[in-house]
Point group: C2
Chain length 419, copies 2
């Protein structure tokens, strides 16, 4: 039994996304015990989740078991459990099954999709944040074609073959492009009574342009690429209503049986657990060292945190930012244990990437702006490179090569239905 003076500080990390895993890795070899808590047993490579939703990849291609990732890091133990709250006075994290005490706490709990106060729309317009969301959306998309094949009423058939994506950020653009390709290429010869190429794919963005985080010229490139794929891009008006039969946009009714939501995210309830000051998206307004105000041993990172970059703009909710924050928090905890001061967090922005179907993407690296095939190659290499796990890289590369050469998609399974 170690005597109290020998007891190593315990670092509890909630969430094994990009931020949480980076924090755990940055603590490798440090004189601390790390407890990594997640409600799922896998790390999800979220940037490729839309590929699962559109039948290009299998869930296991973009997910790796957390225990496997940290297996060789002896000071990490993994707990599968759902965190329900924090007791900062007792320095304990509450899960559905236990209380876990901490000396340092890292909140990397991510974001969910948000309906801006219209939560009643969720059943009609599911969002895409989890593996189970992706397989449910895949089922909806594929079932719409199957139902259309059997439908004798022309109006109902048209609604079944109309796909509406709400939100013109990267996820909305990627979904719209992938569904258009699925209809025009993959499924084009598979039905006898309908022509899948006649499917309408409509992307609705309330703001003036798609991919608002990119420069206007790249937004325009993206819009043109989408239109070449057959996507109707509608900007400038929000969705007014949304129900089982379709959506209304600036007075126009669009009948659709498949509406997908890619319009917004909200942070996990971490801010509520600590009653911390938060922004409109629910992110904790953290100190320059990423600690939660009033809780110097508690840090928030990734989509859980709101922090300004060097220019006073908020750090974007993208994977590279979460990783940088995780690495920083690992370092600050190491330094604190060793009694060393640490300079404030400084975000380095490398660039933005978004893809629009096969062979087209946009890339913004400040001085360097790319679109079309060159950007798509860059996007592919970057995403495969950052996929965690050697095997996943190989499998995903192979799947993409196959899909690229044949237009086929390997994961066209309707699963999870009854019967």
């Amino acid at each position: 039994m170690p005597s109290p003076s020998q007891r190593r500080p315990r670092v509890v990390i909630v969430g094994a996304g990009f931020g949480g895993l980076s924090a755990a890795k940055a603590l490798a070899g440090a004189p601390v015990d790390v407890v990594l808590v997640d409600k799922r047993n896998y790390h999800l490579f979220q940037p490729l989740l839309y590929q699962v939703a559109t039948a290009g990849l299998s869930p296991a291609d973009i997910a790796a078991p957390i225990r496997g990732i940290v297996r060789r890091q002896a000071n990490v133990s993994v707990v599968l459990g759902k965190v329900t709250g924090i007791d900062p006075a007792a320095r304990e994290v509450l899960t559905d099954e236990a209380r876990i005490s901490y000396d340092f706490l890292v909140l990397a709990t991510g974001a969910r999709h948000a309906y801006f106060g219209r939560d009643e729309w969720e059943p009609f317009a599911p969002g895409l944040k989890k593996i189970d969301d992706a397989t449910a959306i895949r089922r909806r998309i594929l079932m719409a074609f199957e139902r259309a094949e059997l439908e004798v009423d022309a109006g109902r058939r048209r609604d079944l073959l109309t796909f509406v994506i709400v939100g013109g950020g990267p996820t909305g653009v990627e979904l719209a492009g992938a569904i258009a390709e699925l209809a025009r290429k993959t499924l084009s010869a598979d039905f006898r009574h309908i022509d899948p190429r006649a499917a309408r794919v409509i992307l609705i963005e309330a703001g003036p342009r798609v991919l608002a985080a990119f420069p206007p010229s790249l937004s325009e490139q993206a819009r043109r690429s989408l239109e070449r794929l057959g996507v109707e891009v509608r900007t400038g008006h929000p969705v007014d209503t949304c129900d089982a039969g379709g959506v209304s946009v600036s007075g126009e009714r669009i009948g659709s049986r498949t509406i997908l939501w890619a319009a917004g995210v909200a942070a996990s309830p971490a801010a509520k657990w600590l009653m911390a000051d938060k922004d409109r998206a629910g992110r904790i307004k953290v100190e320059p060292d990423l600690s939660v105000p009033g809780h110097p041993a508690v840090f928030a990172i990734g989509d859980t945190a709101m922090v300004a970059d060097g220019n006073g703009k908020p750090v974007p909710g993208i994977a590279p930012a979460a990783k940088q924050q995780g690495t920083y928090v690992g370092r600050i905890i190491r330094n604190r244990v060793a009694g060393i001061e640490t300079a404030p967090f400084r975000y380095r922005h490398y660039g933005n990437l978004a893809t629009i179907g096969r062979k087209s993407a946009v890339a913004d690296f400040g001085a360097l702006r790319l679109s079309g095939f060159a950007a798509w190659l860059l996007w592919s290499v970057a995403h495969i490179y950052f996929l965690i796990g050697f095997r996943n890289r190989v499998v995903v590369s192979l799947n993409w090569l196959w899909a690229y050469l044949t237009f086929q998609r390997g994961a066209r399974l309707i699963t999870g239905q009854k019967g």
Copy 2:
């Protein structure tokens, strides 16, 4: 509009398993319209389903969309629908949504797992016939280790780490071997509070030996291979009771939180739809030409049919037998349309194969009997060869090579849970 004399006979095939697909293929180019009805949108390579249940493969690796398989066969259309009955007087198949008229009907509806009148055991001991069964079993197995890691009570921990497989046929043997390997190799270094290698895997077979369809010498080889992997093999006694806490076998109570059922199958309700004479497993006793007695234009094949081979023994319920029957029925329908007689169905038995984890299998080809590594290589090549779809072959080969070299399993995802 074709005049009545130009109308081509319609062949309805119910079920796109090995038998149904073979029948459809055998009708390629024939002057008939084929309607292939299945309640799922994919063909499932069932012999590898246990690999999905034990996290070795992803569902999409062993399933291919039916529409993709028959895309180039112009006389086939695919209907996604669940058949609920047959109206033989009207020559119509009834689905949940429509009535489909037929001139010839092929019933290739397969089998479900059966509990021999103890259906109340199903929630405690799920069986393995569908993709959703496999992902549910995968979740149960992986969750048992996760719960054990957090469990403080030694008795409950022991029950969580005890896995009982009921039934010593090929599926039971494959499951037991794969779970033992998962515990002893894949997961061995992944936990901090339990040692997964201490997990007990118990295979219970009511009969005197495992793999009863094989010669006794190969059954004995299989038992020894299982025991080398750490599986406890118990033969000669059936399970007396089965509940949420474990099983009882010949008076002994075995506490277990994960019980899997591989003890029996029953045919689909096709015999009931026609009120046809059936055997104890529910299979229709067909004529020598595989037609249903009294219904010369209705055929039953695969697990739906009971037919004797040349020696008076029933044709086994394995994929090669279903394929031969499908091909035969395709031919007999072609011949009938052309007014040609067809000799009775003759089953050719090539052999039996079963695998027992990495590097070990048994193969029985009459004069040639193999066990161990040579049999395993043969099994691997045969299964990859018969996998439908070029891509699946490549992906599965790659997954196996990776698993073989690293002992890792690529699909360790706990999906489908709440929250």
